[in-house]
């Protein structure tokens, strides 16, 4: 079902017109209300009046994650504090978190885009949705919560953790859709398998997963283990939270709500637009936000865009799955390695569980590259040569994909940490040694 047909299906020309008008408005807001933005635009020699169409956006300077840290906590607000009704913050694994402020209108836009997502997944007012994203500063919990209430569904506000209770509620309340990180979905699947409750006793049909990059292989694994259809929900704290984009039932990319969040793809080194369909860094401009609008915010997520009209009827641009981030890329012995590549290989190899942990270190001036993996229970045998063969098989497969041979360490079942939120799968010890 399409929640807002006018917004989601309007012609490209009509939308570009709308985007241009909204861009002008948001630029006026930041220029007159946010000093750092005013200064930066003056330095770049561009005034709000110089921007007339959405294509003029390239004249504007970028905003980076560093800017958000430099103006911590709320230096980039474009509305007075009296208008801010809520704050959220990113998990902030390095340094200070990033704090964002929302006005009442921002929250209603968030609910609107969230409702578009849930409708696209086929959910409506008769459905029970379990939100197992963390509630709190993280945008996931409250963001998804607002979306479920907007479509009139029944929300089960579980937050993350307490897996046994999650399964109990899911079972007893006839939950139809689960919303959490893909890694937590796998953890839940594993716990359900171990609980011995037959899958037929669950009503679960739909998975709504986001907040960390995941691959097609991981999607298939989750769908297979939970017996559901798994959809991507895209969002980032700086821009809004979950609801920036969603997959329709055709699942040929993630539709971006570009009437509110304008996407561009740039070459991360030059800052120039790449050719249409080419991969690069995703950049967002919030066209309607009041609390903390961001202009040309560099997400560091790597992807590409497809502007063809989707068969679902929506004209909203589609984004390919995030292929990694410019900042989670590991450079090992000079080779670029993305954890998502490792994940794909492991998921394609039937003998292994979909959990892994990468450790990179430097010993005698050489980088070491180790991956811990669990073998699926039925593949642990009495045959040591067979086990060593499994190790070699995986090492070779990974080498053929990333161009670097890892040391594979087989570990005992369920010994790798299962996360309840965003999964931490990399330890780069080199950072501490320097």
């Amino acid at each position: 079902m399409i929640w807002n047909e006018k917004a989601e299906c309007m012609s490209r020309d009509e939308r570009m017109q709308l985007q241009g008008e909204r861009l002008k408005k948001v630029l006026e807001r930041v220029y007159f209300n946010c000093e750092p933005y005013r200064k930066r635009m003056q330095e770049a020699g561009v005034m709000p009046g110089d921007i007339n169409t959405i294509e003029d956006i390239v004249k504007l300077p970028f905003t980076s994650k560093k800017d958000l840290r430099d103006y911590y906590p709320l230096g980039l607000l474009s509305s007075p504090m009296s208008e801010i009704v809520r704050v959220h913050a990113s998990s902030g694994t390095t340094g200070k978190p990033i704090v964002v402020g929302y006005t009442r209108n921002d929250l209603s836009i968030w609910k609107e885009v969230g409702a578009r997502c849930l409708s696209a997944y086929g959910l409506g007012k008769n459905d029970v949705v379990q939100v197992s994203y963390g509630y709190g500063l993280f945008t996931g919990g409250l963001g998804a919560h607002g979306a479920v209430e907007t479509i009139g569904g029944t929300v089960v506000p579980m937050s993350s953790g307490n897996t046994e209770k999650q399964i109990l509620m899911m079972h007893d309340l006839g939950v139809k859709a689960l919303c959490c990180t893909p890694s937590y979905a796998l953890h839940l699947a594993e716990c359900i398998e171990r609980s011995g409750i037959p899958r037929s006793e669950f009503q679960l049909k739909v998975g709504i997963f986001g907040a960390e990059p995941w691959t097609e292989e991981m999607r298939r694994e989750i769908e297979h283990r939970l017996g559901i259809k798994a959809y991507d929900i895209y969002g980032l704290t700086e821009i809004m939270g979950p609801g920036v984009g969603y997959e329709c039932n055709l699942q040929h990319g993630t539709h971006l709500n570009e009437d509110h969040f304008y996407p561009e793809i740039i070459n991360p080194e030059t800052g120039e637009h790449v050719k249409p369909g080419e991969k690069g860094e995703l950049v967002f401009t919030t066209l309607t936000k009041e609390g903390m609008p961001l202009i040309r915010f560099r997400t560091r997520d790597l992807t590409y865009l497809n502007y063809d009209k989707c068969e679902c009827g929506r004209t909203l641009v589609r984004m390919a799955k995030i292929m990694g981030r410019t900042d989670d890329m590991l450079i090992i012995r000079g080779v670029n390695v993305f954890p998502s590549q490792i994940e794909s290989v492991i998921l394609e190899t039937a003998e292994f569980e979909p959990h892994f942990f990468i450790t990179v270190d430097r010993v005698n001036n050489t980088d070491t590259f180790e991956i811990k993996v669990e073998v699926k229970e039925q593949y642990y045998t009495d045959d040591i040569n067979g086990m060593i063969k499994l190790q070699k098989l995986l090492a070779h497969k990974i080498q053929s994909v990333v161009g670097l041979q890892p040391t594979i360490r087989l570990v005992e079942p369920r010994s790798l940490q299962r996360s309840e939120g965003k999964e931490k799968r990399v330890l780069d010890k080199r950072v501490f040694n320097n």
Binding site: D382, M387, P413
Partner: protein, 133 residues
């Protein structure tokens, strides 16, 4: 003749073997024979116990990866030359031994053998009237 053997996957870290023996002790399970095969970072503990099903269950409940394999248990006199005689018979019949381990107790010795071809090994053992468990 066929005996159920338990194999437990163990990471090479201090105390891991103790965890296994502790669980078995608590469940009052007696180990009759065992061996450890190891690579650089993991090992496989293979053992014969008096209650295979119970041991398997207890270990699995404690998170260990356990598999059950059929092996052949051969019983022989504990004196020089008996094992050699049996191995000669198997070698002559071209039964390949993937691994084996043994224990002896006063006048008897027991050898656990994992042959590559179980049916063939059983046939050879029967034809040669070798005593088994």
């Amino acid at each position: 003749m066929k005996v159920k053997q338990l194999s437990v996957f163990l990471e090479n870290k201090t105390g891991r073997l103790n965890d296994v023996t502790k669980i078995l002790a608590k469940a009052n399970i007696n180990m009759r024979a065992f061996s450890v095969a190891d690579s650089s970072d993991f090992g496989i503990l293979r053992m014969l116990v008096d209650d295979t099903e119970k041991a398997k269950e207890e270990l699995r409940n404690n998170g260990f990866a356990v598999s059950v394999t059929d092996i052949i248990g051969i019983k022989m006199a504990n004196k020089p030359g008996t094992l050699n005689k049996i191995l000669d018979i198997l070698a002559e019949a071209k039964v390949y031994i993937e691994y084996m381990y043994a224990y002896s107790d006063s006048d008897k010795a027991i050898t656990a053998i994992k042959p590559d071809d179980m049916e063939k090994a059983i046939k050879v053992i029967e034809e040669n009237h070798i005593t088994t468990l």
